[in-house]
């Protein structure tokens, strides 16, 4: 047997290969920024890569530019409230810390466990290497495939927030908010302050969930709960109609959304609607971790995957073959690791940074033996409200798996029905189904259908389903222009050595086989 590829990156070779930084941080949200600040303050060279033009992540999106645009943005900043303005100090500190090489508008499209990161900025692309990588790419909204969810006029709460924060736009017309989770109340409260009155807040959660969730309350979680109760109280005071126990949500319309129908406590209702904003909680964005070959776990209660990490975020390799060898150089932090919100992300970013500093031998002052680990305690404290929130806002819009006519993969317009057919036809894993149906083959690379398909597979499983494996994640994870790839920089000399098919025939095959 003659396998062409040489042994891949070994631990030693990777160190011999010039690194571009001590640490690469992917994502400049709360977790990424706090990790970068901590690391750079201790003297590390840190490269921070982020999609957005300014730091802040989802929650503090465009905060810097909105602050710079004052006073014209005064009312917007006021409306977005303390949850948004709280990012100001962190962003200022991030920008002021020497040693942070912040690269905005940069998309990461490949990640390897040995610390190699594929990036794209405009028409340029390349690979960067570091001794450690912190993956802090955050969360995504849980996909909610209900009838009509792909109609223009249906948006997620996160997308609406982006329009408000980065586009300085304000939704208009008859607006319905539907779903569950803290974000929907935060958004409703922000809209209220902007002077936008939703026609209805249709909550899928039930009062009963709150009762059942009560035993999960931890003292340290109480401030976060009070914040949530505050939003609710203000919405009620403002007289915004709110219904709970909503089921059977449907968006209807010919070319765009016209009406919304839903069932409240067994009674059907229909109302005309210009904008339906949906939200069903958030789940970790796992594509980078998965592409790097890191271990993931499926959590049935949350209908999502999350990476397997130690408390300081250290990831582990999944079982099976790997592209690179040597130690795993990746830590995962913030919502990408475990949903916890901004405060928890800041705490965890710092905690992960501390662990990296210790590994690099750069820990400024070693804590005295036996002393409480401050950053670890902060992580625990900031996550304290989580068990209550998880129990109080169980899966709502996505609780029921979609019926056969509902689209699951919006890129390729594949319905739950055709997926079920292919599953009953014997397709037993997500990759096979992708091959047969094209589900997950579109530009989003399966980000918006993977969890639903995993659950459809679980629904059909006769035995208790093992942890489903997501679609195979191959680079590029994000669209990568041919021209940028053609001029790719930072190639790994050994990996880049092209192994190719040599089947070009001889121009003239001598020996005259025959005439």
């Amino acid at each position: 047997m003659n396998i062409p590829t040489k042994p891949m990156l070994s631990g030693e070779r990777q160190d011999a290969l010039a690194v571009d930084a001590d640490v690469i941080v992917i994502g400049a949200g709360p977790a990424g920024m706090s990790a970068a600040i901590e690391l750079a303050s201790a003297g590390c060279q840190v490269i921070v890569l982020d999609l957005q033009p300014t730091p802040g992540g989802q929650i503090f999106r465009a905060l810097q530019s909105n602050l710079e645009a004052r006073p014209s943005t005064d009312s917007l900043l006021a409306a977005l409230g303390s949850a948004y303005n709280a990012g100001r100090t962190l962003i200022q500190q991030f920008r002021a810390t020497a040693g942070i090489d912040y690269r905005p508008e940069t998309t990461v499209w490949d990640l390897r466990a040995d610390g190699t990161v594929g990036w794209l900025k405009g028409e340029m692309a390349g690979y960067l290497r570091a001794r450690h990588v912190v993956v802090a790419n955050g969360a995504m909204e849980r996909p909610t495939p209900f009838p009509g969810w792909t109609l223009p006029g249906v948006m997620t709460a996160g997308a609406v927030q982006t329009l408000i924060k980065a586009g300085r736009l304000q939704p208009e017309g008859q607006i319905v908010l539907a779903g569950t989770g803290p974000l929907i109340f935060l958004l409703a409260d922000q809209l209220r302050r902007l002077g936008v009155r939703p026609a209805l807040i249709a909550r899928t959660d039930r009062f009963r969930d709150k009762i059942f969730a009560l035993p999960h309350i931890r003292p340290a979680g109480i401030p976060a709960l009070l914040k949530g109760l505050g939003w609710l109280a203000r919405l009620r005071l403002a007289g915004i109609p709110m219904r709970s126990r909503v089921t059977e949500l449907k968006a209807q319309g010919r070319d765009r959304l016209e009406t919304v129908s839903l069932t409240v406590a067994g009674r059907g209702m229909e109302l005309s609607c210009d904008l339906l904003v949906v939200h069903d909680g958030i789940i970790p964005a796992i594509e980078l971790a998965h592409c790097a070959g890191l271990a993931l776990e499926w959590r049935e209660s949350d209908a999502s995957w999350r990476p397997k990490t130690s408390q300081d975020g250290k990831a582990q390799m999944a079982a099976g073959p790997a592209l690179t060898s040597g130690p795993c150089r990746i830590r995962i932090s913030g919502d990408a690791r475990q949903i916890g919100g901004a405060d928890a992300a800041v705490a965890h970013g710092r905690h992960a940074a501390k662990a990296i500093l210790a590994e690099l031998g750069r820990a400024s002052v070693r804590p005295p033996v036996g002393a409480a680990d401050q950053t670890a305690t902060d992580v625990q404290r900031t996550m304290a409200a989580r068990p209550f929130i998880d129990a109080a806002f169980p899966l709502g819009l996505a609780a029921q798996l979609p019926d056969d006519t509902t689209i699951v993969c919006r890129c390729e317009e594949i319905t739950a029905g055709s997926l079920r057919t292919s599953i009953h036809g014997g397709a037993t894993d997500m990759n096979l189904i992708r091959g047969v149906t094209r589900c997950g083959m579109g530009p989003c690379q399966g980000r918006s259908c993977a969890v639903t398909l995993a659950r459809l597979l679980g629904e059909a499983a006769t035995r208790t389903p093992a942890s489903p494996a997501p679609f195979r994640a191959r680079p590029p994870l994000r669209p990568l222009p041919l021209g940028a790839l053609a001029k790719l920089s930072g190639l790994d000399p050994e990996l880049a050595e092209v192994v190719s098919l040599e089947d070009k025939p001889e121009a003239a095959l001598g020996g005259d086989t025959n005439g």
Partner: protein, 387 residues
């Protein structure tokens, strides 16, 4: 445990294995195909689907020509409805680009040689015709070779079609069935220990694709195979602009535009194969040259994004043509693998000719160039001397 005795046991349910099974079963032979995964799951189902005579090694020509006839009349082989699903499109042509004078020289010499052999399917075309056929092609392109009969098909559906046709003809197809042990029995027949129990057969055909050399090695036969994880890239959809399949001569270039508009780019570059686990990795560092070749041929494509990549495992021989041959060491054993990235097109003809050879008990002369004997330690192949 199941125990039965077959005329033939085929290891590997790719296109080659299924095509052979189909032809044998149709003549009444009792055939079992064992496939460790799902039939067609590897190279046969994930290849680029190119059906080309263009730039075929002359030694493959007789097979390739026969195969083209068969693809052209696929309905006769697998039935009307099934053949429809295979989306065979012939006559879209394939074109090999000469981007520099060395490539143009090669194309000329090649063309001369083919004409001398009486093979007329390939034509030399000049820059003017080339640019007419391929709008958007870089000015620097000097000419090329065209095979107007060529085209493409849907590999996943074609692999499925041959599998189903073999089964319909009476072949037993055992999927998710791994070969554990294979032993020649006294008296010339074979005994295979598989996930589906013991299978006895008069003959065995090793159609194990990228794993073919492993299967042979287990029987003590060393065959020179390099395993490649050939990588494909798919772009976002662009306005339809090219009908022919375009390939490079020395450049790692190969692409076609799908019906929906996306470009499917190949080029024969390998990722990292993991044979044992039956998987492989895309190595983007290597795909830069493929992207560069595409963009230098079609500069306007620079802004078109690649959306995803995939790889398929394939075996390649040192001389670029497959092994289709009785074993040099065992009676009743054939090796049919090592198709060097262009075995999709050949499959129907391989099926027909191997089946006929078995039935006749005589190796068809068209298979002579593919004998394992050519890898005998000594006198190297004729073409070596002529490079």
């Amino acid at each position: 445990m199941d125990r039965r005795s077959d005329d033939v046991l085929i290891i590997g349910g790719g296109l080659q294995g299924c095509a052979i099974a189909m032809f044998l079963a149709r003549t009444g032979w009792q055939v079992t195909v064992i496939e460790k995964n799902l039939a067609g799951r590897h190279a046969s189902g994930v290849n680029a689907g190119g059906l080309r005579l263009l730039m075929r090694d002359a030694r493959e020509y007789p097979l390739s020509l026969r195969a083209m006839e068969m693809w052209d009349n696929l309905a006769d082989l697998v039935g009307e409805a099934t053949s429809e699903a295979c989306e065979v499109r012939l006559g879209t042509s394939q074109i090999a680009l000469a981007m520099d004078t060395a490539e143009l020289e090669w194309a000329r010499a090649r063309n001369q040689d083919m004409l001398r052999r009486g093979i007329y399917s390939e034509e030399l075309i000049d820059a003017e015709e080339l640019h007419r056929l391929l709008p958007g092609l870089a000015n620097s392109a000097l000419g090329g070779l065209i095979s107007r009969r060529d085209g493409h098909a849907n590999p996943a559906n074609a692999a499925r079609a041959f599998r189903d046709a073999a089964e319909a003809a009476g072949a037993r197809i055992l999927e998710h069935c791994v070969l554990r042990e294979l032993k020649p029995k006294a008296g010339g027949s074979w005994r295979a220990d598989t996930d589906a129990g013991l299978i006895e057969a008069e003959r065995v055909i090793n159609c194990a694709g990228a794993w073919g050399a492993d299967v042979a090695a287990r029987l003590g036969e060393t065959l020179p195979i390099k395993v490649l994880a050939l990588t494909m890239m798919v772009t976002a959809r662009v306005k339809p602009f090219v009908t022919p399949v375009v390939i490079g001569i020395d450049q790692p270039l190969s692409f076609k535009q799908s019906v929906v508009g996306s470009l499917v780019i190949g080029g024969g570059i390998s990722g990292k194969p993991c044979l044992e686990e039956g998987t492989s990795f895309t190595v983007m560092d290597r795909m830069a040259s493929s992207a560069a070749a595409t963009v230098s041929a079609f500069p306007a494509l620079a802004g078109v994004p690649i959306l995803r990549t995939w790889t398929g495992l394939e075996g390649a021989t040192p001389d670029g043509i497959p092994i289709i041959s009785p074993s040099a060491q065992h009676h009743g054993l054939w090796h049919v693998f090592g198709f060097c990235g262009h075995g999709f097109q050949l499959a129907p003809a391989v099926g027909e000719i191997v089946a006929q050879s078995l039935i006749d008990g005589l190796v068809d002369p068209r298979l002579a160039p593919f004998s394992v004997d050519r890898f005998a330690p000594q006198p190297k192949l004729v073409d070596e001397a002529l490079q």
